[in-house]
C-alpha cells in the first residue's frame, strides 16, 4: 500500500499506517473468538494477546496520558465477569491477568489500584455464609502459605551465586549440568535423612547397651568395605532382626515414637506400621525388619514418583510443547541463538562465532539439499548404523560375560574383590570415550549421536550393576546381601577417587598443556555428556545399593557435595566455553529419563529378589524365609486369617493376573488409538490454522480499507482513474490470484464460498452489531478512529 501513497507527505503516511494498525487491532478485538467466555487458561492467553493488541491502540495516539490508558485497560478487563467478582478465585485470576499484561510496571500498579477500587465498588455487601467464609479463609491461607514457601525455598537455594557465575561463563548448557547435580544432591539428602532417622538411629540406640569389640582396621578396608567394616552399620548384615524395646521407663522411647508417628502421616504406607506399634501391648517397640522394609520400599516408590513426575514435566515442556510439524532451523537460530545469560566477553565472542558457524553450516546444508543422497547410499548408511549398533551391543554383552567369568573365577590373590572393582570402574570410566569414537563411524546427525552414545553407556552401566546383583544373589555366600552392598560401596568409593582426584588432575594437565604448548589447538571444553553420565551412574549405583548398604546414601550425598566444588573449579579454571552451542533443554530431559529408567530397572530387579529366599544368617529379615513375608506374615498375618489368605490367593492366581494383563493391554491400545487420532487431528487443525491466518490477513486488509474510507462507492472518490481507491481495490484485493486462493481457503474452512459477502455491508451496520455488552470500547475506539480519520483526511485534502 505504501508504494501507492508515496506521493503523500511522510507525516501523513505515518498517521495513515498508525491508523491502519489501530483499526486492525480494534477489528481483531471484536472478532467473535475474542468475545467467548473463558476458562482460566484461555483467559490467560487471550488476555495477554488481547492486551498486547490493546496496547497498540493506546500507543497509536502517542500523547495520551497514563491515566486514560489505565482507564482503557481497566474497562477492557471489567468486561470479563469472572475477573471482577469479590472472592479469592477471581482475585487470583486478576493477579494472573495483571502479570500477563505486557505493560510497564508503573502502568500495572495504576491498573491494579483502579481495578481493586472498581471491584470493591461492585461487590454487593451481603453477609457471607459460614461455609463460604471458611472456604475463603482457607483459600487465603493456602495462598499465603504458598508464597511463604516460595520465599523460603528461595532463601535456601543452594549454590546460587556459583551456578550463576558458571552460567555466565559457559552459557546455560554447562549450567544445566550443575542444576542436574544440585537436584540429585537434594534428592539424596532427603533420602539420607529418611534412612538415618528410620533405620540407622534405632539400630544405634539398640546397640548402645551392648559393648562393641573394636577391631583394628586397615586402610584397604576403607576401600574394600571388608574386615572391620563388614559387620558395621554400613551393611545390611549388621542390622537387628527383632523389636527394639525400651528397657526402662516409657519416656525414653516416646520422642522417637512420636517423631515416627508424625512422619507416618505423610508416608501413607507407614500407617500399617503405626497401627501395629500402638496397638501392641507392653512397652513401645520398634520392629526393625518392618522399619527397614517399609522405609526402603517407601523411599524407592517416592523417588520413583518424583522422578516420573519430573521427567514427564520436562518431557512435556521440551518435547511435546515444542513439537511442531514444521522445522524452523534458520528462524530458531536467529531468534533463540543468543544466550541472554552470558556475562563474560569471551563467552559472548564465542557465542557469536558459534552462531556464525552454524549459519554457515545451515546455508551449506541448504545448498546441498538440492542434490539429496541417492537411495543406495541411504540404505548403505542405515545398514552401517545397524551393523555398528549390533557390534556395540555385542561388545557390551561380551564385557558382561567376561565380568561374570572374572567374578566366578577361583583366584587366590589378596584383595581380589578390590581388583575386580577397579576393573569395573576403569571399564565404566573408559567405555563412554570409546563409544564416543565409535559413534563417529556411523551416520547420525550430531544430536542423535549424543543420544545414541548416552543410551549405550547407560546400558553398560546398568547392565553391570544388574549383573553384579544377580551374581551375588545366586552365589553361595553366607550373607550375599552384605557382599553385594560391599561391591557397590567399593564401586562408589573408587568412582569417587576417579572423579574427585584423577579426572580433575587430567583436566588440569590438559589445560596446562593447552596454555603452555598449544594455544592454537582445540581448547579443552567441559564435557557435559560424560560428566552427566557419571552422575547417572552414581545414582544408579545408589538405587541398587541402598537396600543392602543404608549408609551408601550418605556416601553418595557427600560425594555429590564434593563433586560440585571440584567440578566448579575444574570448569572455571581448566575449561573454555564450548565452540559449539550445546542444546541443553532436550538433553536435560534425556538425563532425567535415564535416571528414572535406572530406578525402574532397580525396582524390577529388587522386586524379583523379594521373592528370592533371603539369607538366613544375617540382616533384618533373617527370621523370614522370603522378604515378602514381612508383609504377608508380619503385617497381614495371613497364617492366622484364612479368609484374607484365600482372597489374596485368588488375586494372584495366573488367571486373574492374565486377565489384569489383558485389561492393561486393552487400555494401552485404547490410549494409543486415541493419541493417534489426536495427532491426526492436530495436523488437520494446524493446516486449518494456516489457512485461517491467511484468511484473517485478507479480511483485516479489507477492514483496514473500510475504516480508511477507501471503499468501492466512497462518496469522496471523484474519478475512476488509476489513482482512485476503487481502481486500487479492484486491482489489489480482487486480483484473480487472491480471489482464487481465498475461495479455496474458505471452502476448506467450511464457510460459504461467497467470500466477499461484506462487499455490500454498509458501514452503519457495523455500529449496530457492536452494540452489545462490549459497547463501550467499540464506540469509544470507533469514535476515536473516526476522529483520527477526519483529521488525517483533512490533512490529505489540504
Amino acid at each position: 500500500m505504501e508504494n501507492e501513497e508515496d506521493d503523500r507527505p511522510a507525516s501523513a503516511r505515518r498517521t495513515l499506517t498508525l491508523r491502519n494498525s489501530a483499526a486492525r487491532q480494534v477489528a481483531i478485538n471484536f472478532m467473535p473468538s475474542r468475545q467467548l467466555s473463558y476458562n482460566t487458561l484461555r483467559l490467560r492467553r487471550t488476555n495477554s494477546e488481547h492486551n498486547a493488541l490493546l496496547e497498540d491502540v493506546c500507543d497509536a495516539p502517542g500523547g495520551q496520558d497514563e491515566d486514560k490508558r489505565a482507564d482503557l485497560i481497566v474497562r477492557e478487563l471489567e468486561q470479563h465477569q469472572r475477573l471482577m467478582e469479590d472472592n479469592p478465585e477471581s482475585e487470583e485470576l486478576r493477579r494472573e491477568a495483571l502479570r500477563d499484561l505486557p505493560q510497564g510496571l508503573t502502568m500495572k500498579r495504576h491498573v491494579r489500584a483502579k481495578l481493586s477500587a472498581s471491584v470493591s465498588l461492585r461487590s454487593k455487601r451481603r453477609p457471607l455464609s459460614m461455609t463460604k467464609r471458611l472456604k475463603y479463609r482457607f483459600g487465603f491461607a493456602v495462598k499465603r502459605f504458598r508464597e511463604r514457601f516460595r520465599d523460603f525455598t528461595f532463601s535456601i537455594e543452594l549454590w546460587y551465586e556459583a551456578i550463576r557465575k558458571i552460567e555466565g561463563h559457559f552459557g546455560s548448557a554447562v549450567g544445566s549440568y550443575f542444576y542436574f547435580l544440585r537436584w540429585l544432591f537434594a534428592m539424596d539428602l532427603v533420602l539420607a535423612v529418611c534412612v538415618l532417622s528410620f533405620v540407622l538411629a534405632p539400630q544405634v540406640l539398640h546397640e548402645q547397651g551392648a559393648n562393641s569389640t573394636s577391631v583394628p582396621w586397615a586402610f584397604i578396608d576403607l576401600i574394600s568395605g571388608q574386615g572391620s567394616f563388614e559387620d558395621s552399620l554400613l551393611f545390611y548384615g549388621h542390622y537387628h532382626d527383632g523389636d527394639i524395646s525400651s528397657p526402662g521407663p516409657l519416656t525414653y522411647n516416646l520422642p522417637f515414637a512420636y517423631f515416627f508417628t508424625m512422619v507416618c502421616l505423610y508416608l501413607a504406607c507407614f500407617a500399617v506400621l503405626c497401627y501395629r506399634d500402638i496397638s501392641s501391648p507392653g512397652p513401645l517397640t520398634y520392629n526393625m525388619p518392618f522399619a527397614y522394609f517399609f522405609t526402603m520400599v517407601c523411599l524407592y516408590l517416592a523417588c520413583f514418583a518424583v522422578l516420573c513426575y519430573r521427567t514427564a514435566y520436562s518431557y512435556r515442556r521440551n518435547f511435546i510443547e515444542t513439537a511442531g510439524g514444521v522445522n524452523h532451523a534458520f528462524a530458531n537460530k536467529l531468534f533463540c541463538g543468543w544466550d541472554f545469560g552470558i556475562v563474560t566477553q569471551q563467552a559472548a565472542a564465542l557465542n557469536a562465532t558459534s552462531i556464525y558457524n552454524e549459519f554457515k553450516e545451515l546455508l551449506s546444508e541448504q545448498n546441498k539439499m538440492q542434490e539429496s543422497a541417492s537411495l543406495c547410499t541411504r540404505i548403505g548408511q542405515k545398514l552401517a548404523n545397524v551393523v555398528v549398533t549390533t557390534l556395540v551391543i555385542g561388545a557390551i554383552v561380551a564385557l558382561e560375560y567376561g565380568l561374570w567369568q572374572l567374578l566366578s573365577a577361583e583366584v587366590k590373590v589378596a584383595n581380589w574383590e578390590v581388583i575386580i572393582s577397579v576393573i569395573i570402574t576403569a571399564g565404566v570410566a573408559l567405555c563412554p570415550l570409546m563409544f564416543n569414537l565409535i559413534v563417529k563411524l556411523e551416520f547420525y546427525n550430531p544430536r542423535t549421536a549424543v543420544y545414541v552414545t548416552l543410551a549405550r553407556t547407560w546400558l553398560l552401566d546398568v547392565g553391570t550393576l544388574m549383573l553384579l546383583l544377580f551374581y551375588w544373589a545366586r552365589s553361595e555366600a553366607s550373607c550375599w546381601e552384605t557382599s553385594f552392598g560391599q561391591e557397590v560401596y567399593r564401586l562408589v568409593i573408587l568412582d569417587a577417587i576417579v572423579s574427585l582426584f584423577i579426572l580433575p588432575v587430567i583436566e588440569g594437565l590438559r589445560a596446562l598443556f593447552y596454555h603452555k604448548f598449544n594455544p592454537t589447538g582445540k581448547a579443552p571444553e567441559f564435557n557435559i555428556a560424560y560428566n552427566s553420565l557419571t552422575l547417572i551412574y552414581n545414582q544408579a549405583a545408589l538405587w541398587f545399593g541402598v537396600l543392602f548398604s543404608p549408609l551408601l546414601v550418605v556416601c553418595v550425598t557427600l560425594k555429590f557435595l564434593c563433586l560440585f566444588y571440584v567440578k566448579r573449579e575444574c570448569a572455571l579454571r581448566a575449561c573454555q566455553p564450548a565452540r559449539k552451542v550445546w542444546r541443553a533443554a532436550q538433553t536435560q530431559t534425556v538425563f532425567y529419563m535415564l535416571v528414572t529408567l535406572s530406578l525402574f530397572t532397580t525396582l524390577f530387579g529388587i522386586g524379583s529378589l523379594f521373592f528370592w529366599s533371603s539369607s538366613q544368617e544375617c540382616g533384618p529379615f533373617r527370621s523370614y524365609a522370603f522378604v515378602y513375608e514381612v508383609v504377608s506374615e508380619g503385617v497381614l498375618r495371613l497364617s492366622e486369617r484364612p479368609t484374607t489368605r484365600r482372597v489374596l490367593a485368588f488375586i494372584v492366581r495366573p488367571g486373574a493376573v492374565a486377565f489384569l494383563l489383558l485389561a492393561l493391554c486393552v487400555c494401552v491400545y485404547y490410549v494409543r488409538a486415541r493419541s493417534r487420532a489426536q495427532r491426526s487431528m492436530v495436523r488437520l487443525l494446524r493446516q486449518m490454522l494456516l489457512l485461517q491466518a491467511k484468511d484473517k490477513e485478507f479480511l483485516l486488509h479489507a477492514i483496514a480499507k473500510v475504516s480508511n474510507g477507501e471503499w468501492l462507492y466512497s462518496p469522496r472518490t471523484p474519478t475512476e482513474g488509476p489513482d482512485s481507491h476503487t481502481w486500487k481495490y479492484l486491482n489489489e484485493v480482487r486480483k484473480p490470484s487472491n480471489a482464487g486462493f481465498h475461495f479455496d481457503a474458505s471452502r476448506l474452512a467450511g464457510t460459504r464460498p461467497h467470500s466477499l459477502a461484506f462487499d455490500t455491508w454498509p458501514a452503519e451496520q457495523v455500529h449496530d452489531d457492536g452494540d452489545t455488552d462490549s459497547s463501550f470500547s467499540w464506540q469509544g475506539s470507533s469514535n476515536y478512529l473516526n476522529q483520527k480519520g477526519e483529521e488525517s483526511a483533512q490533512k490529505r485534502w489540504l
Binding site: 502479570r99 510497564g104 510496571l105 546455560s172 524452523h328 565472542a349 557469536a352 533443554a585
Partner: protein
C-alpha cells in the same frame, strides 16, 4: 536477615509481588542490583514516587554484567523503558527482570522478544530488522549476500501469511515451538 532499612512500604511490595513473577526476597535482590548501578542516584529507601521517577541513564544500565555483552542491549533498555528513551526507573528494571525470569510464561517472553527483535518499532519484524539482527548476532562477520540468504530463509520458514514480514503471530508461532527459547531468553538476577 539484616533488613534494618526498610526499602519499600508494605503496600509497594505487595503491588510488586502481584504484578511480577518474583517473591519478596527476589524483589529486594533486584533492587540491590539496581542500586549497584548508581548508588549516588538511587537512594536506599524508595518512596512511592521515586520508584517510578528516578531514572538511571541508559549508558549506565548497559554496564550491568547481564547486559554488557548482549548485542541487543540498547533495544532491550528501550523496550522496557517507560518513555522509550532507554533510561530505566526501578519499576522498569523490575519489570525487565521479571520478564527474563524463569517463572515468566512463554507467551509473555515471546511478546517481549518480539518487541526486542522489532528494532524499528513498527510492530512488524521486517526484512531490515532481520538483517540487522543477523549482523548484531554474528558481530558483523557474515557476508552481506549470506545475510540476505539467511533472511530469505527465515522469512520462508516463518512468514505464514506471506506478507514479507513477521507479525507477532508469525513470530510467536516460531518461538513457542523452539525448544531452546525458554532456556536462552532468561537472565538470572
Amino acid at each position: 536477615m539484616g533488613n534494618k532499612v526498610v526499602t519499600f512500604t508494605e503496600q509497594q511490595l505487595e503491588d510488586y509481588q502481584d504484578c511480577t513473577f518474583f517473591t519478596r526476597k527476589e524483589i529486594l535482590r533486584v533492587f540491590k542490583r539496581f542500586r549497584e548501578v548508581n548508588p549516588d542516584l538511587v537512594p536506599k529507601r524508595m518512596t512511592e514516587n521515586q520508584a517510578h521517577t528516578i531514572a538511571v541513564p541508559v549508558e549506565e544500565i548497559e554496564k550491568l554484567p547481564e547486559l554488557k555483552e548482549n548485542p541487543f542491549k540498547r533495544r532491550i533498555c528501550q523496550v522496557f523503558s517507560h518513555d522509550g528513551s532507554g533510561n530505566l526507573t526501578f519499576e522498569d528494571f523490575l519489570d525487565m527482570m521479571s520478564v527474563f525470569s524463569e517463572a515468566a510464561p512463554r507467551d509473555i517472553k515471546a511478546w517481549y522478544a518480539f518487541r526486542i527483535y522489532d528494532l524499528d518499532d513498527d510492530m512488524y519484524i521486517g526484512r531490515e530488522d532481520l538483517l540487522e539482527a543477523t549482523r548484531l548476532l554474528t558481530k558483523g562477520e557474515l557476508h552481506p549476500q549470506e545475510r540476505d540468504e539467511i533472511v530469505a530463509s527465515v522469512l520462508d520458514e516463518a512468514d505464514v501469511d506471506g506478507d514479507g514480514r513477521l507479525s507477532f503471530m508469525d513470530f510467536e508461532h516460531v518461538v513457542v515451538r523452539a525448544p531452546d527459547f525458554l532456556s536462552t531468553f532468561h537472565i538470572r538476577v
